[in-house]
Amino acid sequence: MTPLVVALGAAVGAPLRFLAGHWLDGRFPWGTLLVNVVGSFLLGLLSARSVDGDVMALLGTGVCGGFTTYSAFAVKAHELGARTGSTYAAATVLGALAACVLGFALG
């Protein structure tokens, strides 16, 4: 049952990320930055509410995990070059962590 709900959640989260990238990523990957920050906020919120079991598998592992991405983030950070890439990497890692802390505090 659990793998099925993980798959279901990611089947929603991953296409939402793809659409955000399609419409918001330009010279600077604002879309990918946004999904990683928003997904981390939501996971912090779920964690504060002590969501677990299949609900966490669906919303946390599935939706948030499928919505956020490290692979696209790492490739874009590399392709943007040293200067812009560092700014993008710092904004993503620190922004996502701050959002996760905020989500947990509000949850």
């Binding site: 793809f18 948030c64 490290y70 962590l97 802390v101």
Partner: protein, 138 residues
């Protein structure tokens, strides 16, 4: 605003993402991260980042938009995760393990970008641009 991508591409991302997320979940079942340094999630993100940067080297992928988005934003986007990484760092910080949290975030970032740089050696910048333009990196 750009027109929406064809629905079959969005569907390919959904299917690939579902498979990738289940693979990620399976790794967590076999080797749970526990309360220390989250090696499992680090390994997932490193492997996924390396594999994404390797895709432009494959002719079959560059020839097919469906494969490009099904494997890139789909399979590997669903396999890797930044939300779990943030949540793990948040928990480490809440436990006053500041050094472990900081080293986890830095090691993950450094390893994944280094993995990308290594994998890109198997393809030309032109091939990488084709892959990027086909939205393989979303």
């Amino acid at each position: 605003m750009r027109p929406a991508p064809p629905w079959r591409l969005v569907a390919a991302v959904a299917v690939g993402g579902a498979v990738g997320a289940v693979l990620r979940w399976s790794v967590g079942e076999v080797a749970p991260d526990g309360s220390g340094f989250p090696f499992g999630t680090l390994a997932i993100n490193l492997l996924g980042s390396f594999a994404l940067a390797l895709l432009p080297a494959l002719d079959a992928v560059r020839r097919s938009r469906l494969l490009t988005v099904g494997l890139g934003p789909g399979l590997l986007g669903g396999f890797t995760t930044l939300s779990a990484t943030s949540e793990q760092a948040r928990v480490l910080l809440a436990d006053d393990r500041v050094l472990v949290a900081a080293s986890y975030l830095l090691v993950t970032l450094g390893a994944c970008v280094a993995g990308v740089a290594l994998a890109h050696r198997w393809s030309s910048p032109a091939a990488q641009r084709v892959f990027e333009a086909a939205e393989g990196n979303e």
